[in-house]
Symmetry: C2
Subunit: 358 residues, 2 copies
Amino acid sequence: MNRPAKHLRAQVVGLGLVGTSIAGALRTRGWHVSGSDLDGNRAKRALQLGALHEIGLDSSPELSFVATPASAVVPVATDLLARSTGAVTDVAGVKAAIVAAIDDPRFVGGHPMAGSEQEGPDGADADLFVGATWVLTPGQRTDPTAFATVQSVIVSLGADVVALAAERHDELVAVISHVPHLTSATLMSLASETELDHTVLMRLAAGGFRDMTRIAAGSAAIWPDICRDNSAAIVPVLDRLIDRLAEVRRIVVETDRASLGHLLEAARDARRNLPPRGQRPRHTTELRVLVPDRPGVLAEVTTLAGEMGVNIEDLEIAHSAEGTRGVLVLVVSSEAADTVIAGLRERGYRVSHGLPAT
Amino acid sequence: MNRPAKHLRAQVVGLGLVGTSIAGALRTRGWHVSGSDLDGNRAKRALQLGALHEIGLDSSPELSFVATPASAVVPVATDLLARSTGAVTDVAGVKAAIVAAIDDPRFVGGHPMAGSEQEGPDGADADLFVGATWVLTPGQRTDPTAFATVQSVIVSLGADVVALAAERHDELVAVISHVPHLTSATLMSLASETELDHTVLMRLAAGGFRDMTRIAAGSAAIWPDICRDNSAAIVPVLDRLIDRLAEVRRIVVETDRASLGHLLEAARDARRNLPPRGQRPRHTTELRVLVPDRPGVLAEVTTLAGEMGVNIEDLEIAHSAEGTRGVLVLVVSSEAADTVIAGLRERGYRVSHGLPAT
């Protein structure tokens, strides 16, 4: 079900590192790409770098990416939905407020879990998303066709699509991204502000410390918006982290070897079990889900797979002639197929297990 | 002043990853290397891997490395000092208790700031120390000749030698290694124990989280000893970290953009200014320091350079005929020479600025 990308038109608004990477990745895959940025120099640079065919807005793109700073996503996406055709998606790191504010079936919230310590178009990389996880957050009103367009394009960029409810996404990234980032910056500033001699301290910084503070070298600019938009999820995770560190302090003070061993061994096992990135399934299976033609079905079916950690490899919607029912064809890894089928049947869906897709 | 390594004899007691790496590195540099381990299978494996010439103790080595678990360093080093000639050094991560317990001029405490997530002889790498910082902790009674032997051998393995007082080393590694490690394990276990679905959480773990938790994948075995031996330095650093995270919580709750920006920008600048690893100075300079023949001079001169973050590139001791004074020849990078000279003169030393060494 790979769609030929030739002659299709896309646009990217916001040409920082992520936006320019998307533009470049689309162009290398045969799309016609236009782009714009409030900062004309960035747009010119993205053009020079070959990521764009032209600067400006496209009136009839199949797909528009909003890669502006988070605080501009709602007005920019709303404007694009009013003035152009096709699906619109964004790349902001916090999703619930954005998808609640943009009440349009053609908008699909997105968040590529990839980045870099660089910033600006010069740090762009058309392969930035290969093997990355890219979350989509379909909602009650999301149009299945818009979702399928965004999903297939993102898969063509090399990313794995996981569908999650926006609120769930925000809770998860607080644990896996936002609090770790704030902790990295805190460790770095604690080390650099120590009264002990700074130069020798920095000379002792071995691989472990360098690893832990690498993300602190990234752009500081996006974090005030993230902390504002996701404070409801970040604050409880910070509380849990502080509680845990107080427990670590007790363990150290009391030389509680058993508890320390338990903490470190559990962490070691969990770290070693992190799934490898970017492993595409060798075999996929088509699931045909009979769906009532009512709002929210797409979100329910796709986020159910997402909650199980299952990628959506491909997706197609076939409407029936009568218009009250349709078939949603969902392609997942063959390994995960039975689990997804069981979950869908539990929720009352009629699912037929199609032939292997690959 | 590179010493020819041919025919020189060394031994390594404790053949885990670090011990076997030292053995292999010495052997590739022409040393005759014997080694032993309480676990006979490890010794056989190190022999099989070519890191050793033979299993067993050497009665007349120029240098012995104690690379056992930290709790065995004092008895093993004491035994080696009693039964063999030459200098003895160790690789344990906490130094003050060890150097206080081993009151012998031929013992020089050491700590290579290099490791790996692997463990055991199969993870060994003769290039493990290339570009790493290797701290030595000379004390009041340290024999300058023993120090010079250890120093020159470590430099020949590719590491940079920084001399520090043992207590200062322990304070610094609490900030730069021990508390970051405990934090990494805490973040990993917090993520893995979250009530939210584990599988999808782990799928979202992007590069930043992977970087921050990489050290948590390492061997848990050494940490109970480290936490016991260095609790006096670790606990106050944990307290500072918890205080800082409570301040981060306040910043997030109050959307205090100015304070957040300040924290992240300071951390970013500090991270970007971490000195690159393993840059050997292009030019070095010999400093000739007239030293009284009294205990503690070696430690004072070398740790003064260490406090400034200056490596000791080479070191030689020339005793005068009368025996009450000597000359300590210290080789440092030419860039750092003036600073070191000024520091030494401030402390009353007579220093002559020799010709460039390279």
